[in-house]
Amino acid sequence: MLKKRAMTVLTAALALSVAAGCSGANSNSNSAGSADSAGGTSGAGKKEKVELSLWLTPQWKGVMDATEDGADYDSFFLYAADKFKKQYDKYDVKVNVQVVAGDQRDELLNVNLNGGTPPDMFFESVFAMGDYVHRGALAPLTDIVDDAARKDIAQGYWDNVTFGKDVYFYPFAHNPGTLAYNADIFRAAGLDSLVGGENEIKTWTLDEYNRILETLKTKLPKDKYPNAYPMALYALNNQGDTWNLAYLRMFGNKFFDDKNNLAVDDADGIKAAEWLKKVYDSGYSNPGAESVSSNDANAMFQNQQLGISFTNAVLYNNAKADMKAGKSPSFDMRLANIPSASGKPLAFTYVVGTALFNTGDKARMEASKDFIKFFSTDPELVKASKNSIPVRSSVASEFASQFPLFTAYDANAANMFSFTGNVAGYSELRQVLYPELQAMYTGEKTPAQAIKDYQSKGNAVLQKARESSVIKP
C-alpha cells in the first residue's frame, strides 16, 4: 500500500515537473534577443542589459579584408559590436551575430516571424528583403538618417531603400551585377581581340557575344580545358535569378509596365527566351541548366569549367581572394557587361544595407537603431564597404586609386536598369520564374509559352501581394 502511494506521488511529481518544464520554456521562448530589466537601470548606476541579434547572409570576409587572420563573414559585425558596446551609454548591449545561407534566408525568417522570434536586425541586399517591408515586419529607419548621410550617399541609393515615404534599410554598400570571364580560356580559344582590360568592364555587342560562345564551343583546346563550357546557365532555384531576368531584357523588353505589372510577354521578351533556349540547345552552356544552381555554376567557373559566368562585386572579390589563398585554381578573371541587341549593355546593382525588425520590444529596437546608425556612419567602419562598392562618395573617392574597378563601376552606372525588387510580392515572384525556365530548357514548353505562363502567374502573385501590402503608394 505504501509502495503504491509512493508511486502515485512520484507519477504526479513527474507530471508536474513536465508541466513546469513546458511553462518554463514558454516564458523564455524569445531566443532571438532579450531586454533584461532585472539587470538594473541607469538610475541604479547600472545600465540595463539588452541582447540583440543580427543576421546576415555571406557578404565579405574579415573586418576590412579577407586576408586578415581568422577572417570570416561575421568578423565585421563582431568587431563593430565590440566597438559600439565600449562607447554606448544607454544600454549594456550584447550583439549576437548569425550568418545564414542566402537560400535559407526566407525559410529561417518566416519560421522566426511566425514564431514571434525575428532577429532584431538583418544585413542583406534590399531587393531580397523588400517583401518584409510590405508585410509590416520591418520598422522605418527614417529618423536615424541625418543630413550628412543624405549628402554623402547619392539619392539613387536612398530611392532604392525607400518604401512609401520611409527609409527601411540603412544603405552600406552596393553590389553591381555583371558577367565574369576567364581571359585565359578566351586566349586559348583565340579570342584575344575580345578580351577587355584588367580594370575594365568590357562591353561586347550581342553579335560579338554570340561569336564568343561559338568559338569557345568549337575552338577551346580540350586537352587544356576538358569539360569546359562557354557560359553558365542555371535554373534549379531562385538563386542568381537577377541575371536570368537581365537575359530576358536583352532584346529590349522593359519587364514591368507603369503599374508594376509584368510585361515580359511581348516579341522582345519571347526573342530573349528563344535566345536562352538556343544557347542551351547548341551546347553553349553547361548541360542540365534545369538542375544546376547558381552555386554550382560559380564553383564550375572557379574550377575553370566555364568561360563566362555571373558575378557581383563581392563574389568577384571573394573569388580573387580564394585564388590568392590557393583555395581555387588561379586564372585571369575579368569583368564584362551583359550584352544586348541594342548595343547598350545591361547592368544592375543590389544595394546592401541593414533592416530593423519590428519586434515590439522598445529597448531592443532603440538599441538596434543606435547600433545600425553607428556602424553605418562610423568613419572607420564604413570603409569596410570597399569589399563591395561603397555607397558613400567619401569612401569611394578615398579608395579610388587603390581599387581601379571603382571607377569602372562608376562609369558603368549609366547602363544600370532597375529590376524593381521593391514591389510587393517580389520574393514569391522569384519562385515563379525558375519552374518556367526549367520547363523551357527541358522542352516541356516553348519559349513563348514559358514567357506567357510566367507573366500570368507572376501578375497573379503581384496582384495578391499588392492587396495585402501595408505600404500604400
Binding site: T11, N227, Q438, T442
Partner: protein, 291 residues
C-alpha cells in the same frame, strides 16, 4: 461503495502513470493538429490573422501544382511501399533460416543506409547525378555518350527519387521481416517438409500468412513515412523540373516558409492528416481484428 472507491483509486494510479506521456501527447500532437485546423481558416500576415473561411482550401483546389503534388505523392506511396514490402519479404524469406552469422551480415548490410542521414544520402546522390559536374554525367561524357540528366528529365526524375528513397529505407523492413520469420514456429516448417512442400509453398502458405501483422505494420509505417517525403525532394530536385517531382510535404513547406502562406500550408497539412487517417484506419482495423 468501498469497492467502487478501490476501483477508482486503482484506476487513478494507472492514469497518473500515463499522465506525463499523455500530457506530452496533448502538447506536441493534439495541440498542433487543432492549431493547424484553425490556421487553415485564417490568412496570417506577421502579427495579424484574418478569418477567411475556406478560402485557403479554394486556393489549393485552384492550383494545378497542388494536384501535381497529390498525384506525385500517390505515385511515391504506391511505388515505394510496394517495392519495400516485396523486396524486404523476398530478402527476409530467402535468408531467415540460414546460418545466424550470414543472417546478421545481410541484416547489417541492408541496415547501414538506414543509419546514414537522409540528408547525407541525398547529397551523395546529388553529387553523383549533377548534370554539370556529377560523377555519372562525367563518366557518360568520358564514354562519349550524350548528356545524362536523370533529375532534369520529367520521365526519369520520379523513378530516381523512388529508387533513392527505397534504397535508404528498405533495411528497416528487412530487419522486421527477418525477426518475424525467425519467430514462426519451427514445427510448421518440419511438418511441411514431411509433407513434401516446396520452398515456394512454404513461403506462400506458411510464411506469408504468419507474418501478415508485420506486413501490415510495414505497410502502415511506410505509407505514413512516404506521405511525408521531403528531404530527398528538397536536396535532390527542388521539386523540379517544372514541379515534376513536387510532393505534398514539399508543397506545404514551400507555402509555409518560402511563400509565407501559412493558412494555405495549414490547409495542405489538414488534407495530409485526413489522407493519412483514411489510409491507416482500414489497415489498423485489419491488424487489430487479427489479434
Amino acid at each position: 461503495m468501498i469497492r467502487y472507491n478501490r476501483n477508482v483509486k486503482e484506476g487513478l494510479t494507472g492514469y497518473l502513470f500515463i499522465a506525463p506521456q499523455f500530457l506530452l501527447f496533448l502538447i506536441f500532437v493534439v495541440y498542433p493538429i487543432v492549431e493547424g485546423l484553425r490556421l487553415s481558416l485564417y490568412k496570417v500576415q506577421y502579427r495579424t490573422e484574418t478569418f477567411v473561411g475556406f478560402d485557403n482550401y479554394a486556393a489549393l483546389f485552384g492550383d494545378p501544382v497542388f494536384f501535381k503534388a497529390v498525384w506525385n505523392t500517390v505515385i511515391f506511396v504506391v511505388a515505394i511501399v510496394l517495392l519495400t514490402v516485396a523486396f524486404s519479404f523476398f530478402v527476409g524469406s530467402a535468408v531467415f533460416d540460414k546460418n545466424a552469422k550470414y543472417v546478421s551480415f545481410i541484416r547489417g548490410s541492408y541496415y547501414i543506409p538506414v543509419m546514414v542521414s537522409m540528408v547525407v544520402m541525398s547529397m551523395v546522390w546529388s553529387f553523383l547525378l549533377n548534370p554539370a559536374n556529377g560523377l555519372i554525367s562525367y563518366m557518360a561524357r568520358e564514354m562519349e555518350m550524350s548528356t545524362v540528366n536523370l533529375l532534369g528529365n520529367k520521365s526519369t526524375v520520379l523513378p530516381v527519387v523512388i529508387f533513392v528513397t527505397f534504397a535508404t529505407n528498405v533495411g528497416q523492413a528487412i530487419i522486421l521481416y527477418i525477426a518475424a520469420m525467425i519467430g514462426v514456429p519451427k514445427d510448421l516448417f518440419e511438418a511441411a517438409e514431411v509433407d513434401g512442400a516446396s520452398r515456394l509453398h512454404v513461403i506462400r502458405h506458411i510464411l506469408l500468412p504468419l507474418v501478415k501483422p508485420t506486413t501490415i505494420y510495414i505497410t502502415i509505417i511506410n505509407i505514413i513515412a512516404v506521405l511525408k517525403i521531403f528531404v530527398v525532394i528538397q536536396l535532390l530536385t527542388g521539386g523540379g523540373p517544372n514541379n515534376a517531382s513536387v510532393t505534398l510535404m514539399y508543397y506545404l513547406y514551400n507555402n509555409a516558409f518560402k511563400y509565407n502562406q501559412l493558412g494555405v500550408a495549414s490547409a495542405v497539412g489538414v488534407i495530409m492528416f485526413l489522407l493519412t487517417l483514411l489510409l491507416s484506419v482500414p489497415q489498423l482495423k485489419a491488424m487489430f481484428n487479427d489479434k
